[in-house]
């Protein structure tokens, strides 16, 4: 198994550190450093997220993902580097800046004696131009739970309430921290379509997730963070050279499972087809999955 060499140069697809901050980007980061005591959680991270895109940040626990996002959200002070979120330094962002961003945390907000509708109304009252709370409940599919107390909701309903609280202020930029953890597959599908409809409304989103299928499904671009640095930024289909990686063709011949690696799977299959009178038995063509390239990048044995 080959390992990506330690990122001494700029990571593939990433922003070059010498490039100035992009004032038009939703998020622009140069040389972000964050230390906890002796350990360095983020070691010089550069990143630009365009307005209107969904950007997924992937990375193992402890890679600096949460720290980076919390610096962007204004929850943590950085030790070095430059950061602009919607053109403002989060370290100094006031109420007006906070009104333009929405944050969906892994917990919080919904654990309450208030009903869903009351919670959303209270949340909406903090913003200049909020969405209609009833409409937001409809959007996240909680209309029939409008009168139910936050505390009585199931895990999946609670996450949808968290998302509702995050978007009721009509944010231009939404942070989603592992939003579908604990969802069943059906709930996850519904959530994905919710995120797509938010994108259609022009909301920029920064998503962190452990689910690679989720990143592939939703993100315009993904960034992989490992050991406090951004290792690569690419569209999901191209990450880790996936687009150019050899395909694996597999079929059954004389009762034996056969496989072949090839850079020209179409020609290979055409040639293969001539050896059989009809269908090629159990024919499959596979590219490396996002998970394969991701695991290789973060340096874990696949």
């Amino acid at each position: 198994m080959t390992r990506t060499p330690a990122a001494t140069a700029t990571a593939p697809g990433a922003v070059h550190p010498a490039t100035p901050l992009d004032p038009d980007a939703a998020i622009s980061v140069r040389g972000l450093v964050k230390r906890y005591g002796d350990s360095t959680a983020v070691a010089g991270l550069d990143l630009d997220i365009r307005r209107g895109e969904i950007f997924a940040l992937l990375g193992p626990n402890g890679a600096g993902k949460t720290t980076t996002v919390e610096v962007l959200e204004g929850y943590r002070q950085r030790d070095g580097g430059d950061v602009r979120v919607l053109g403002v330094d989060p370290a100094t962002g006031g109420r007006r800046w906070k009104a333009d961003i929405g944050i969906v945390l892994q917990s919080g907000g919904g654990d309450s004696q208030l009903t869903c509708l009351e919670l959303l109304r209270a949340q909406a009252s903090y913003y200049a131009d909020p969405r209609d709370p009833a409409e937001v409940l409809e959007l996240v599919g909680l209309t029939e739970k409008a009168g139910a107390r936050g505390r009585t909701l199931s895990g999946g309903q609670r996450r949808r309430l968290d998302v509702a609280l995050g978007i009721v202020g009509r944010p231009r930029l939404l942070f989603l921290d592992e939003p579908t953890t604990g969802f069943d597959p059906e709930a996850r599908r519904q959530f994905w379509s919710l995120i797509r409809s938010l994108r259609d409304l022009g909301t920029t989103m920064l998503l962190t997730t452990h689910y690679l299928d989720e990143a592939e499904e939703l993100a315009d671009r993904v960034g992989v963070i490992a050991r406090g640095r951004l290792v690569e930024v690419a569209v999901p289909a191209e990450l880790g050279g996936r687009g150019q990686a050899p395909a694996v063709v597999s079929w059954t011949e004389d009762g034996v499972r056969r496989t072949a690696e090839t850079v020209g799977p179409t020609a290979f299959v055409r040639e293969l087809a001539t050896r059989f009178p009809g269908e090629v038995p159990d024919l499959a063509v596979a590219r490396p999955t996002l998970e394969d390239v991701y695991l290789r990048m973060i340096g874990e044995p696949a």
Binding site: R95, E118, Y126, A128, R149
Partner: protein
């Protein structure tokens, strides 16, 4: 779809109102907090009033004496215990972090808490006075005693609210805050003249009690509920109202300083 409009943020006052409403609903809809904070002192008053109905001298019943103590204990529960537990809970479950990521003015959170403490305190005082008067014939304060009653309650409540907010930072979550603050409150109640006459408490315990606000709240309230002849039974031989105001005022300042220094919107780590 409307275009982005540059509307101004809601006024701080309107967010204060929202938070006041939120805090009232959070308190009164939670059975544990209502039972623990509101009903418990009333039950104690009913039980003590029925059992310990003896004369403490000068024709004054123990229930009359106990009235001052149980009101002080009720205020302590509505402020210190309530704040320590509820804020520790909201810090550990992420509510505080969530709020600090919104454009809610930070002051609104504290205003909401003050509204809650105020409402609960007024309610508990009214219930205790009503039960004491109707069930046990407790003599209510009259004339200028009401003024003393109001300032002792207000100052004691302020000191204990600030201390409760400060103490919340020491606990990992609501459960550990409760485990920390409930025994302390109970011990303070025993040595501060709530359950027994303060003059019967050993001197060294009186000295310890005098370091904390509850003793001074109970003493100030005794001046309201007891005839002045009983001031002679106090350790100092008088109600010491000036010292009551001074100690509670110092605790307000200390509490505020601790709050400013220790308050966190997030869990550690």
């Amino acid at each position: 779809m409307t275009a982005t409009t540059e509307r101004s943020l809601p006024s701080v006052g309107s967010v204060w109102r929202t938070r006041g409403g939120v805090e009232l609903k959070e308190f009164f809809r939670q059975r544990e907090s209502v039972v623990f904070t509101l009903a418990f002192p009333v039950i104690l008053l009913v039980v003590f009033g029925a059992v310990l109905d003896y004369d403490i001298g000068g024709g004054v019943t123990f229930t009359q004496y106990f009235m001052a103590g149980i009101v002080a204990a009720g205020i302590l529960g509505a402020s210190l215990q309530n704040m320590a537990i509820s804020i520790a809970t909201e810090r550990s479950d992420g509510t505080l972090k969530h709020l600090s990521g919104t454009p809610m003015p930070k002051s609104a959170y504290f205003v909401g808490k003050v509204v809650q403490v105020l409402a609960v305190t007024v309610l508990i005082v009214v219930i205790l006075l009503a039960v004491g008067r109707l069930a046990y014939g407790v003599v209510l304060p009259s004339g200028s005693d009401w003024i003393t009653f109001v300032w002792v309650t207000a100052l004691g409540s302020s000191a204990c609210t600030l201390l409760g907010i400060a103490v919340s930072s020491l606990a990992k979550n609501g459960r550990s805050a409760s485990a920390m603050v409930t025994p302390i409150a109970l011990v303070l109640q025993f040595i501060s003249g709530v359950f027994f006459q303060f003059s019967q408490v050993p001197t060294w315990m009186q000295t310890i009690a005098a370091l904390f606000p509850l003793k001074w709240m109970a003493q100030g309230l005794r001046s309201v509920f007891l005839p002045d002849a009983l001031a002679a039974a106090e350790p100092a031989g008088s109600w010491e109202l000036g010292r009551v105001a001074l100690v509670l005022g110092i605790w307000c300042i200390v509490g505020l300083a601790l709050c400013v220094k220790t308050f966190r919107w997030q869990d550690r780590g």
